[in-house]
Subunit: 276 residues, 2 copies
């Protein structure tokens, strides 16, 4: 675990660290905010999964989450969105390859060698954080934006008991029925669509749901909303009688100006669950 | 306008009044809460439409709304749910006839002679309140429970510019596809289902939507949820990109214990719109 930087931040520390990922077979960088309470013992952990084209840095610098995490004594982890490196497969499109891991374990060439983001997040980075930092793995919650909202929702529903609460900003909600999804799931997982279902929040909501609270915000002026398909997940959530708050926020778009507007409420929502 | 009772309440007055309805061809009774600010001039008005079997009295005595209306300086009106009287048609079922007007203008015998609840609420009672009380008809909002949530949503979407905001508790959301709806719409409006569409919140959301904020709460343990069909309205709302907050509240049922739990947030939601 190599320290890239550490900055004092809202009474705690915003760090950036690099470690060698076995599952992705490359070095991976992540951001970690620890509130001042972490000096005294393990604190709850909120995961923030980012969207297409993002690195560990975008949310860390633009979401404004640290202020509210500090207020609630919660750690924030900002993983990268894909493996990285010159020898790691990539694509010219912004929405495939590096920066676009889609939080799956790729099974298809040329991606399978490095693109193991599901295992990286849910196993390797989880273990690394537990070993190296004062975070309480019995109190985890997860959020994310766009592709990261997809990751947060699919991980929360697929790993019962892992996360006490899940939220999302403008999540890709039904990727098996969207151009933000079909292209990538086909590339990473192959053309057998049965393997895609485990990575579609709407299908998981129909199958499993989530044993805890859900908060989802989407802007009515989101320029990518037709790709996100919030209506599919809204229908599935209500049909399941799933505990949830689904908000269509008037005038907001897909940007971090939208995320930063509502991050306070998302952190407070998770704090309620983490300290319940 | 005959005063049945007036009680001091949270610094204002909770009144019950009876007047002769021309459109329903019978006397109609309603509750009206006026906050103390009404002594100085017209105040904003929040309509509360009640559900099956209710009179003007249920929400007035069980919802706990007056406390929050007083805090925001808002008047509350609690209309009855149907025409009443020995000479008014009725049915042995709890969900048809007296106490079950469904907020439509009946066209079929034996209902058409008195069951004109749409016109009663949106025209006759509106005019009567404007003439007799210190309410500001330029600042109206509407909410309701169950059948009353159906009424609130359909009136809000059908009368653009009338209501600044609309909310609902466990609304009947897709009556043209539910046993809470098909029976009554058939009885009151006849078997031409085209005439039903104007009284289905899901169909209205697809056609028109609402030019303002929407807040809807439904309990996950609502014993009537299969009749309410929140999933249909959730899908339509998200598909329209309609400004809205849709909440599935864990563990809550269809009762006034549910309504009273969230009435504070609904009144505050309407206050935001009424004072914008």
């Amino acid at each position: 675990m190599k320290t890239i930087s550490e900055n004092a931040c809202f009474g705690g520390t915003q760090g950036v660290y690099t470690h060698t990922s076995q599952v992705c077979d490359c070095d991976m960088t992540f951001g970690l905010f620890l509130p001042e309470e972490a000096a005294e013992g393990p604190v709850p952990l909120l995961w923030y999964l980012s969207g297409l084209t993002c690195t560990h840095e975008n949310a860390m610098t633009k979401a404004g989450a640290q202020s509210w995490a500090a207020a609630h004594g919660i750690a924030l982890v900002f993983p990268d969105t894909s493996p990285r490196g010159e020898w790691v497969a990539d694509d010219e499109a912004y929405d495939l390859g590096q920066g676009a891991g889609f939080y799956v374990n790729a099974t298809e060439a040329p991606w399978a060698a490095h693109f193991q983001m599901w295992d990286y997040i849910t196993e390797e980075l989880t273990t690394a954080l537990d070993h190296s930092f004062a975070v309480d793995m019995e109190r985890q919650a997860i959020t994310g934006h766009s592709m990261g909202g997809h990751g947060a929702l699919t991980m929360a529903m697929s790993l019962p008991g892992r996360f006490r609460s899940v939220s999302a900003f403008a999540p890709i909600s039904n990727p098996t029925a969207s151009d933000w999804g079909r292209k990538q799931l086909s590339a990473y997982l192959g053309n057998n669509e049965e393997t895609w279902a485990a990575h579609d929040a709407t299908l998981l909501m129909r199958e499993k749901g989530f044993d805890g609270p859900i908060l989802i915000d989407t802007g009515t002026n989101d320029q990518f909303i037709d790709l996100l398909k919030p209506e599919a997940l809204a229908e599935a959530t209500a049909a399941r009688r799933q505990q949830a708050t689904l908000r269509m926020q008037p005038g907001y778009d897909h940007s971090y100006f939208f995320v930063s507007t509502f991050i306070e409420e998302h952190v407070a929502f998770h704090a309620d669950a983490l300290y319940a």
